[in-house]
Symmetry: C2
């Protein structure tokens, strides 16, 4: 059973994406929408809040809401999981495990992952047959056995861990910057040493806030772009100066 406000949000989203409300045009008033869907004003407001969070429409007190964009947004899983993102975009994904070594947590890892033993995995990922991503992932000790049991050519670790042990990657924190390719990066990705890579470092936790993994992902320049929409009063993405808390 899907909530009412979600169905209303879906209908409005379809209208916007379908061109019924062009970019720059005004949405009907809350009262009008409430009447149209036979719902309370609060329910309509909840539906609209969803679209505002997606960046599709803008809102300010006193004025009618405005359509800001007409491109669909993606799900958390697609940001978090390379395979699920690729699949949702109709791209063919591949990859293999290069190395997989259990070891003791080093330096800040122990605190970051809240455990002493970790499993370090190095994966090379391909898109449409081309190598585009190097994943250096450190898994917390308590999930390491399930990770080690996965086949080396497993496309979606996220999906596999959910299927095998019911683990849900619920929250993530991501740091994005640019780095030069090191010797091993360059060899694996087939680029020159020193060429630009887009780096995404992330730490992922369960619903309870328990850390699951810490990863350093490096994309070949030109292969992937991150996109974000924001507005005054909502600020999901922030900048940080060079000296970073999660840095190493």
């Amino acid at each position: 059973m899907v909530a009412r406000y979600e169905r209303i949000a879906a209908e409005l989203r379809d209208d916007i994406l379908g061109g019924a409300y062009p970019v720059g045009s005004q949405l009907p008033s809350e009262a009008e929408l409430a009447a149209r869907y036979s719902a309370a004003r609060g329910t309509v407001r909840q539906a609209i809040a969803v679209l505002i969070a997606e960046g599709l429409i803008g809102s300010r007190q006193g004025a009618r809401r405005v359509v800001l964009g007409n491109t669909p947004s993606q799900s958390f899983a697609e940001l978090h999981s390379f395979a699920q993102w690729a699949k949702a975009n109709g791209l063919r994904v591949g990859g293999r495990v290069i190395s997989q070594t259990p070891r003791a947590a080093r330096g800040a890892e122990a605190e970051r992952l809240a455990c002493g033993e970790v499993l370090e995995v190095l994966r090379l990922r391909t898109l449409e047959g081309e190598p585009v991503l190097i994943e250096r992932t450190v898994y917390a000790g308590w999930i390491a056995p399930a990770v080690a049991a996965l086949p080396p050519d497993c496309d979606s670790v996220t999906q596999a861990l959910y299927d095998s042990v019911g683990l849900v990657f619920a929250y993530g924190e991501h740091l994005i910057d640019a780095v030069a390719a090191g010797a091993s990066d360059a060899r694996l990705l087939g680029v020159r040493r020193g060429s630009p890579l887009l780096r995404q470092r992330r730490i992922t936790t369960t619903y309870e806030g328990r850390p699951v993994e810490w990863s350093d992902d490096r994309y070949r320049a030109g292969s992937v772009t991150f996109s974000i929409r924001n507005s005054i009063g909502s600020n999901p993405l922030v900048r940080q100066a060079g000296d970073l808390r999660l840095g190493d």
Copy 2:
């Protein structure tokens, strides 16, 4: 007059940031908070929604809410305006206009900015005296006179335009990727040609959804990092494959 739910959110945020609720611990129930603040449950829920959007706490039906982090988040202005971000972080910012040329809109610009005449500005920005950012900004014709009237060493264009003509940068869409430094990038930033740069392309609009500027900002690697927190069910940041809608 600040809204009640914002004051409650601020108190809870202070509690979390101050360590009263450590990372991983549980928050009091809605009913408990409602009693403590003598507010309705709906109001408390609104306050909590703010903190969830900031990524400070996680929530799921049936279980107590959990503290996910204890680092403050920043404001939209700080993502959008280099100067305001630097200021908020206590960094000394400088910069100057390299060139400023009015011209006809080219290619996709006319559609993107919804105008025929544009003003192209090239700025070099410094942080703590070091050059870190090249800004290539194209302003829509209707705001060009106000931009041209600014002093060449103006630190915050965003602030200056608000002060002079009341313009508010309300919404933004950002694309983030990595590129190699070109010849002019390298010269201005004082790095070698081909060295990695973090690129942020963005388009900014007013409250009405009217495009104001289109910018290509390139940061020297290591100087700046973008950070984002997300969760299942909320997905502000997305990935895109190489072939981009806003690309050129």
